[in-house]
């Protein structure tokens, strides 16, 4: 893996922020885009733009083919059986809203949806909406170092939830869940299993067929692709049974004034003109990741994580949150006596972009007894020099705030 060469593919990384070369360490929030993806989107608008599944003319056929190719590429990327199982949404949040709405139709009063306390709000709030129907939402507890409490999980599964929705990896702490085990435990309890894979698929390989998981959701923009494109994978037989989420154009096969009939999969769940350019750009992002190799990327991140963690442990007054092992290239931390926003602002002056706050995971923050953290997250284009600048930045924070 040639990082120098990879970095050259990302035009934004040449940008200067406050006079310094950008060091982008907020990859858990969104990733930067390689020139190949940017060009693919441009190329589509310059050469192939037409609405999909509409006109019987050449240009529409071109855009339809390109858009459908993107579904096929996604199916291959996660090893789904076929493209019928790949629904494009706006993002992970929309994918989970689709599930909550559509699966929620069949749930009854007092049925239980089980999720966990390390979730992003996107895998909590949509389920809470089902409370209006008298459905209960329960949460698996977390340990002090941010892992799922296994005893509590077993106990909560013994109450036979209808749905078990959990994250593949924590966006705050980087905790990587044992998805294989969790899916099996969910299945054994007869629950539908859903993985919020928004922080998972860009770092770890996934094979939905082998995993036998029912649904997974993730976002293009966190894996080098454009914003406004998300994925919902679902088993074909389940998707067939489910009612549509949004309705209107393109998702129908026949409409009369009295009744409508749904289109075939996956289009039944893609109402209206979709984000065609986004889908096409996403396909190129997936190809880019496959060319480099997810396992290679993961190895590279782990190297940076280990290096930066070790360096940080040398500095007094730094608290790092999360597990020691099995974590993504994410460092969630606090500098004693300094608010996370101030840490982020000092680093920003040197062109280093990190996130601060509660990271859309307020229940987890409450559980950890903190208001927020500063968070650095690595991806394939980050270098050891980036990690060094980040460490230097933290030392600068301590100097400015005179904390020792």
């Amino acid at each position: 893996m040639n990082i120098k060469k990879i970095k050259e593919d990302f035009p934004i990384l040449k940008k200067k922020i406050n006079g310094f070369e950008l060091v982008y360490l907020d990859n858990s929030a969104t990733t930067q885009k390689p020139i190949q993806v940017i060009e693919a989107v441009n190329c589509y608008y310059e050469n192939n733009n037409a609405n999909v599944h509409r006109g019987g003319y050449e240009l529409s056929r071109e855009s339809t083919d390109l858009y459908e190719e993107a579904h096929k590429e996604t199916a291959e990327f996660i090893k789904a059986k076929k493209m019928e199982e790949i629904i494009f949404t706006k993002n992970t949040t929309e994918s989970i809203n689709l599930l909550s709405f559509s699966l929620g139709e069949k749930l009854k009063k007092n049925d239980v949806v089980l999720t966990t306390k390390i979730e992003h709000h996107s895998n909590i709030v949509p389920w809470q909406q089902l409370k209006r129907k008298g459905i209960k939402v329960e949460f698996v507890e977390v340990t002090k170092d941010g892992k799922l409490n296994e005893k509590d999980l077993e106990e909560k599964l013994s109450f036979k939830p209808k749905i078990f929705a959990f994250t593949g990896a924590s966006n705050v702490l980087g905790t990587v869940n044992d998805i294989k085990k969790l899916v099996k435990q969910g299945k054994d309890a007869d629950a539908l299993t859903i993985i919020d894979a928004a922080q998972f698929v860009q770092h770890k390989k996934i094979n939905v067929k082998k995993l036998n998981v029912d649904f997974i959701a993730f976002s293009s923009h966190k894996m080098l692709g454009p914003t406004g494109i998300g994925v919902l994978y679902g088993k074909e037989e389940l998707l067939e049974e489910m009612p549509p989420f949004m309705t209107g154009g393109d998702m129908i096969s026949k409409v009369s004034c009295e009744k409508s009939y749904w289109n075939s999969l996956p289009w039944k769940f893609e109402a209206g003109t979709p984000n065609i350019a986004g889908g096409i750009g996403f396909r190129i992002a997936l190809k880019y990741l496959e060319r480099i190799g997810i396992e290679e990327i993961d190895k590279h991140e782990q190297k940076l994580l280990n290096y930066a963690t070790k360096e940080m442990q040398e500095i007094d007054g730094i608290e790092i949150f999360g597990p020691e092992k099995n974590k993504l290239g994410i460092i969630s931390f606090n500098v004693k006596g300094v608010h996370p926003h101030d840490v982020s602002s000092v680093l920003d002056r040197k062109g280093i972009a990190i996130r601060s706050g509660n990271h859309c995971a307020q229940p987890l923050m409450e559980e950890l007894g903190i208001k927020g953290t500063a968070r650095a997250s690595f991806y394939l284009y980050n270098t050891k020099e980036d990690a060094d600048k980040f460490i230097e930045g933290i030392k600068e924070v301590k100097k400015i705030f005179k904390v020792d």
Binding site: H341, R349, G357, I400, F401
Partner: protein, 134 residues
């Protein structure tokens, strides 16, 4: 001297003026921004339509803490009308200038205070407790 935070901000963050809570108050206002986690609580004693005494507490970043603290100094002895007139620009100048990305942190306390005073006037009561979400 660094270029990000004025010495005043750093001083007020470490040793905020008027930090604490008044036992005898007319207004108690708790406000914050759930998405950033900052929280500020003002307790205010009003006499003859003027701020007789004011304290603040809570938790926040350097800028929001310093700003709320300085605000308590600034509004002491002022009428409700006068407090309303304090502009963001004025606040920024008083603090020695803050970076553009953090304007929201600076104005958090002021927004809570403005809203609290408004509620107090509207209520017509002698004592109110309000929670304000910014």
């Amino acid at each position: 001297m660094n270029e990000i935070y004025s010495e005043l901000i750093l001083d007020l963050y470490k040793n905020p003026l008027n930090y604490g809570e008044l036992k005898n108050f007319n207004i108690k206002a708790e406000g914050g921004n759930p998405s950033c986690g900052d929280l500020v609580i003002f307790t205010i004693k009003i006499e003859n339509n003027k701020v007789k005494d004011i304290k603040f507490k809570g938790h926040g970043c350097a800028i929001s803490t310093a700003s709320s603290s300085l605000l308590t100094e600034k509004v002491l002895g002022k009428t409700i009308k006068e407090i309303k007139k304090i502009s963001d620009k004025e606040l920024n100048e008083m603090l020695g200038g803050i970076i553009q990305t953090r304007i929201k942190c600076m104005t958090l306390g002021k927004r809570v205070l403005d809203k609290a005073i408004e509620e107090y006037k509207k209520s017509g009561k002698n004592k109110i407790k309000v929670t304000i979400r910014i």
